[in-house]
């Protein structure tokens, strides 16, 4: 049914129809000279521009204005969503790439300013939030030489130690320590787990889940109250498409908001409004050192989506923003807000602000059950199947309660391999499944208690 015309420019066709889009920016390379008014930064109109935002010709900034523009987006996201408040201790997940380097830099600058205010203030009523950095060493899943990874870790230590005062604790944690609570050497177990997943995309997604679990573990064991990820607009745009392609349309809105409180330690995304291109530019402008750890290109679905979005972005630089904006119109979940602040140390203005602008949970029963593997909220239609098997503490519960995407790409196809697979999953996933389920069920049970006959009752 697709229009086959190569020359068509009509409004019914994808190329030309821009009902909801921003006007396509002119992305021709800047010509020296041009209009005289174009030789000035569009923001301050004083300095010479040195770089472009994604708006191309329409957004030429000088270095300061460019940086302030980006930092402004970061700051607004933090304030508007009450991401970081004085008593918090935030753990910044650092991968070495540009996005996490920028978020680390911005968090540091925010902390530095807060520290200055604190020092200057006789009152000392508002403590400065603490910042830690976590780097997850995934070298056991790849074939890097130990020299390569050691050098990388050294570089990271240097970066973090230079971001002081205030000083920040650095955690360098190998991915296999997700299993350390099981009291065993994780390397073998990790290999076993990853080998058991035959689908390439499934493997990559499982690794991402393990990463998040490990960050939760580090944060929780060290008293951190927030996890900050450098996830940028571009990354979110890719996630929107790949989640759609994996049949995760229902849970998609949960993953792309500013705040995700599904976890014990809420995860926040302050760079959500910043495109990767601008973050890259900032790193080169400001000389922010990044640590290139080639974890291997993504293959399978994730790699395909990444190339697809890249092609789209080249054709229209505002495409990523449009994708994220569209997905932003999907209804978020009740956990997509920071938990209410009851701390009296937090200025009441911030608390009022948070109350007003973050989502109210809908009053009805929160019957969201979650996939034990990827934690995506499951559509209510899945509920009855797990209801039937509740109370039966055997493993089949876990499988039935997994989302269709994990069932397809992560869980083994062969039922005889299932037992073995479950035995190599990290304990956290299995525990979470049981507790998560029970949490919902106990609430439900209360509601229907009066209709349930206990086993011992005699029928009259």
């Amino acid at each position: 049914m697709a229009c086959n015309s190569s020359t068509c420019n009509s409004s019914g066709c994808y190329k030309g129809y821009e009902e909801e889009e921003q006007p396509k920016p002119n992305t021709k390379a800047a010509v020296n000279g041009g209009n005289s008014c174009q030789n000035l930064c569009v923001k301050c109109k004083v300095n010479e521009p040195v770089c472009c935002g994604i708006g191309g010709e329409n957004s030429r900034f000088c270095k300061d204005c460019f940086k302030n523009n980006l930092y402004g987006k970061f700051k607004q996201a933090v304030t508007y969503n009450a991401m970081i408040t004085p008593p918090d201790k935030v753990l910044v997940a650092f991968s070495g790439g540009t996005s996490s380097r920028v978020v680390l830099q911005f968090v540091h600058e925010m902390q530095y300013k807060a520290q200055k205010n604190y020092d200057a203030n006789k009152d000392k009523s508002l403590p400065v939030f603490g910042v830690g950095v976590a780097f997850i060493d995934e070298s056991s899943t790849h074939s890097f030489t130990s020299l390569h990874i050691e050098k990388a870790i050294e570089d990271i230590r240097l970066i973090v130690s230079n971001l002081a005062p205030p000083s920040k604790e650095l955690f360098v944690v190998p991915i296999e320590s997700i299993f350390s609570s099981d009291g065993i050497d994780g390397k073998e177990r990790l290999k076993e787990l990853l080998d058991a997943v035959s689908d390439v995309t499934g493997k990559e997604d499982l690794l991402i889940r393990l990463r998040i679990l490990l960050l939760q573990k580090i944060a929780s064991e060290n008293g951190y109250t927030r996890i900050v990820l450098g996830t940028c607009t571009s990354r979110i745009a890719c996630h929107v498409i790949s989640a759609t392609v994996k049949g995760q349309g229902y849970s998609l809105s949960a993953d792309i908001q500013y705040v995700d409180s599904r976890w014990e330690i809420p995860v926040v995304l302050p760079l959500r409004d910043c495109p990767a291109q601008e973050l890259n530019t900032l790193c080169s402008l400001d000389g922010l050192k990044i640590v290139e750890l080639l974890n291997g290109p993504c293959s399978g679905i994730n790699g395909l989506v990444s190339s697809f979005v890249k092609v789209l972005q080249e054709e229209n630089p505002s495409r990523e923003c449009t994708i994220v904006r569209t997905a932003g119109k999907l209804t978020p979940f009740h956990f997509n807000r920071v938990p209410e602040i009851h701390d009296s140390n937090v200025p009441s203005a911030t608390r009022r602000h948070q109350k007003r602008y973050t989502l109210k949970p809908n009053g009805s029963l929160s019957s969201d059950s979650f996939c034990p593997i990827c934690s995506s909220p499951l559509k209510k239609s899945n509920f009855p199947s797990s209801l039937r098997s509740h109370g039966n503490q055997q493993n089949p519960d876990l499988i039935a309660s997994a989302c269709s995407s994990c069932q397809f790409q992560i869980l083994p196809k062969d039922p005889s391999l299932m037992e073995e697979f479950l035995s190599v999953l990290p304990q956290q996933m299995i525990t979470k499944a049981k507790h998560g389920d029970q949490g919902d069920f106990s609430l439900l049970r209360e509601q229907i208690q009066e209709f349930l006959l206990s086993d011992g009752e005699n029928e009259i």
Partner: protein, 348 residues
């Protein structure tokens, strides 16, 4: 499970369904090895289930099958007439074809549709652009050139189908949109930022509040599986077979993971879109009475342009009748469209 890239071993493989016949094909949707008879059987059975589960038809209804002469509508005609007979749907089926007046292209497709009429015993009605609007596509292209011709054709065709259906006094129109089409539409609506269309585009029945409801029995049917007696000619005004970004992406996806097409449709159905999302208000066109959210329906705006010698009327963002000059300037200042990139029409 990702598709095996290793070549399959030669040697007799039995059909996985009947285990009697030798497997002649690999089913695109599931990669199962299957014999021809079983393939046809399972193909038709799945569509039958879709029809039942979604209650697409009621006994006694008059149904027009949008017949373009392409493979999708040819197969649709065959399958619907077959299932109607086999399962006693009790439907009154017709073929409804639109003659855009494109010499060479439409002549051939109309031949196919006429053949379908004979083959499947379905009465055929042809509505032509000439009769309805006073213009053939040939004449329109002569007037406006090769840009924007798809806009005209798409808008006119949609109305033509409705008008033809009204003339035939049918209860529903069935179109051959397949899973690939719908998956592509979901992606394109995400890319374009059209949340309103995104919430509607996976519906298997649309336009229930309009003149004639339409349904898509092939919603879950893979394009690859739609193979039968079909005639495939590319429209002559589109010499390139190059497909748009989204379609190409879907083809690549299908190669890695065939079920991704259905997963996209599932995502589209599951998107949490607020029901308060603003939908355009449905009114009627002042000029012709057709359903329209503006004063004049799109077809009337376009026709006005043609008749007044202002071919750009109704093309582009603003639709005012008096802002031609502004529109042209706006149009030209945009970056020139990239050649040989095909677009996906979303006006269904």
């Amino acid at each position: 499970m990702e598709a095996d890239s290793k070549p399959k071993k030669s040697g007799a493989r039995l059909c996985c369904v009947c285990t009697q016949n030798r497997a002649a094909l690999k089913r695109p949707k599931t990669l199962e090895q299957i014999c021809r008879e079983c393939f046809y059987a399972v193909f038709e059975e799945e569509i039958h289930q879709v029809i039942l589960e979604n209650q697409l038809f009621k006994p006694g209804e008059r149904i027009a099958i949008g017949a373009s002469g392409g493979k999708d509508s040819t197969v649709l005609a065959y399958v619907l007439s077959e299932l109607n007979r086999r399962h006693n749907y009790g439907l009154d089926l017709f073929l409804l074809s639109v003659d855009e007046g494109i010499t060479g292209y439409r002549d051939d497709s109309l031949e196919t549709v006429k053949r379908n009429e004979l083959q499947y015993g379905l009465p055929l009605k042809i509505v032509s652009y000439k009769d309805l609007y006073g213009w053939t596509m040939d004449e329109i292209v002569k007037m406006i050139g090769l840009k924007n011709n798809c806009t005209f054709c798409g808008v006119f065709r949609r109305q033509a189908l409705d008008r033809g259906a009204a003339l035939l006094k049918v209860d529903k129109v069935a179109t051959g949109h397949n899973a690939d089409d719908i998956a592509e539409t979901v992606l394109l609506n995400i890319l374009r930022g059209d949340i309103a269309r995104l919430s509607r585009c996976t519906s298997i029945i649309t336009g229930e509040d309009g003149p004639i409801p339409r349904c898509k029995p092939f919603k879950y049917t893979y394009e690859k599986e739609i193979k039968l007696d079909y005639f495939s000619t590319e429209c002559i005004y589109s010499p390139n077979a190059y497909r748009g970004f989204a379609r190409e992406f879907i083809k690549d996806l299908e190669r890695i993971r065939p079920r991704a097409i259905l997963d996209i449709i599932k995502s589209g159905e599951d998107f949490r879109i607020s029901t308060t999302t603003k939908m355009p208000e449905q009114g009627t066109c002042e000029r012709c009475g057709y359903i329209s959210s503006q004063k004049w329906c799109k077809a009337c705006v376009l026709l006005e342009g043609l008749n007044r010698g202002l071919p750009k009327l109704g093309i582009g963002r603003t639709q005012g009748l008096n802002s031609d000059g502004k529109k042209d300037r706006k149009r030209d200042s945009r970056t020139p469209s990239i050649e040989s990139k095909q677009c996906g029409s979303l006006e269904f």
